[in-house]
């Protein structure tokens, strides 16, 4: 018996047991995510810190408001607002989820093996999923918005992808602000110039969004090492 079970092993197992007993209880959000089969370590990243959680709640709050607002029947304007603002949500999430201004442990995080891009991507995907549920679900309910319920998805991907690409050159807040401004200006201009209100989200718009998304992703991947270094001095 002593070959299989030495004192070190017994001590190690006891240490594991007492760590489990002492470990803080998981928050509701964590338990929910775990119920959804999200791996434990990813859950910790997503829910890790209260400051980041605030960012999620803000994004969710805005998303729900938009979703509810878009459920106005017979009002093309509300549809337009939905489609214009919704894609910017993941961008907001990304801006608040990465970098020295958002993450106090940024420097220590840089020195870890996990790729910076991976961390940003996990958080960006989280915000995207939350936005899809919070915005898409109410939008599906209203008949006017149903057909366009997901017309904002490709633009959202495009904006997120463009933001990440910009973040390989500029700090997160500046990068996302530029992308958001360009988007809003572009959408408003298209609305004024084009044949109908929602032209920006029609077929051409979707194709354009897909293209931007692809290019942004390629650029981000190529320049991903910038997420691994302190590009901006303090």
């Amino acid at each position: 018996m002593s070959q299989i079970v030495n004192q070190a092993r017994l001590d190690a197992n006891w240490s594991a047991i007492s760590s489990e007993l002492d470990a803080p209880t998981a928050s509701i959000a964590e338990r929910l995510l775990r119920r959804l089969r999200v791996p434990g370590h990813i859950t910790r990243l997503v829910v890790a810190t209260p400051a980041l959680r605030r960012a999620w709640y803000l994004a969710i709050g805005i998303a729900v408001l938009i979703g509810l607002g878009s459920a106005q029947p017979d009002d093309p304007k509300s549809v337009f607002v939905l489609l214009a603002i919704a894609p910017a949500l993941p961008v907001l999430g990304v801006a608040m989820a990465y970098g020295p201004s958002a993450d106090p442990m940024y420097e220590a995080q840089l020195a870890t093996p996990m790729r910076g891009l991976r961390l940003v991507a996990i958080r960006a995907v989280t915000v995207l999923v939350v936005a899809i549920i919070a915005v898409g679900f109410p939008a599906l309910l209203a008949s006017t918005t149903r057909s366009m319920a997901f017309a904002w998805l490709l633009p959202a991907l495009a904006l997120t992808s463009a933001s990440l690409a910009m973040m390989t050159w500029l700090p997160p807040r500046r990068a996302t602000a530029i992308v958001a401004i360009v988007w809003f200006v572009g959408v408003v201009v298209a609305r004024g110039v084009g044949p109908d209100e929602l032209v920006a989200f029609g077929a051409i718009g979707q194709v354009g969004a897909a293209t931007v998304a692809a290019i942004g992703a390629a650029v981000t991947l190529a320049r991903r090492s910038s997420f691994d270094r302190m590009e901006y001095a303090s």
Binding site: P24, A51, A108, A111, M114, D228
Partner: protein, 284 residues
Amino acid sequence: MSAAHVVASRLGKHYDGHVALDDVNLLEQGGLITLLGPNGAGKSTLLRCLATVVAPDDGSLTIDGLDPRREPERIEIRRRLGYMPQDIGLISGATVFDAVEYIAVLKEQRHDRRRRRAVFDVLDRVGMRDLVSERVERLSGGMRRRVGVAQALLGSPTLMILDEPTAGLDPDERMRLREILTERRRSTTVFVSTHMTDEAAISDTVLVIADGSIRFAGSPGRLAALAAGRTWVQNDLPPPDVRASWRLVDGRHRCLGQPPAGAELVEPTLEDGYLLVRTPVSPG
């Protein structure tokens, strides 16, 4: 795994025309290496380069033969690395446990139970195990530093880099932190920066850095020995051309510089050597 092998050759870094590092050369493996220098000397920049969070503009750096400029090698270096930045920046609103576990996840500890145990282990080693549920804002400065050291200990690194871990701490806390670090000196290469000379005295190697370049690299004894024959005590006020002087308890003056003939020489300390080496010889 044995302590990390750090080789730096002609490292240089500049920010907006200001030279932060100039022609830095290093060759270290194992032991406690103290980086001594005033604020703005380039300590943080050098440590950041070693910790791979900043890329130097000139020169080369390898850690265990790995080049941080190449992504897969950089990642492998980071697997062996524990870094505590000057501003550990613990996430406000989080608990001690959360903060350390966050880094554990980033250090690829995927298995939930083993990761939790690792977090408890490192907190235990810095004496913070009982405070796992404490909110970070409520910790004293010394406790925050200990949490910072704990996250750097995750994963049993063979290279540890700590930027001014003892700044602002009282002597007890400083001693305690140094004890935690000196435990590792055989199995790990530990770089610590400070501007307190008494801490340098107990390290294996001292690197004096000023204005971005290394002025001295060697043992504490050798640094002190640089001032041999240059330190003396006298009753009268020292002349203005001494390098440094200070008043002793008994009213006499201890001086560093060029001793006059027949002066009462005294044993040089590490601080004397540091002062000599730090400031370039002033004209006149």
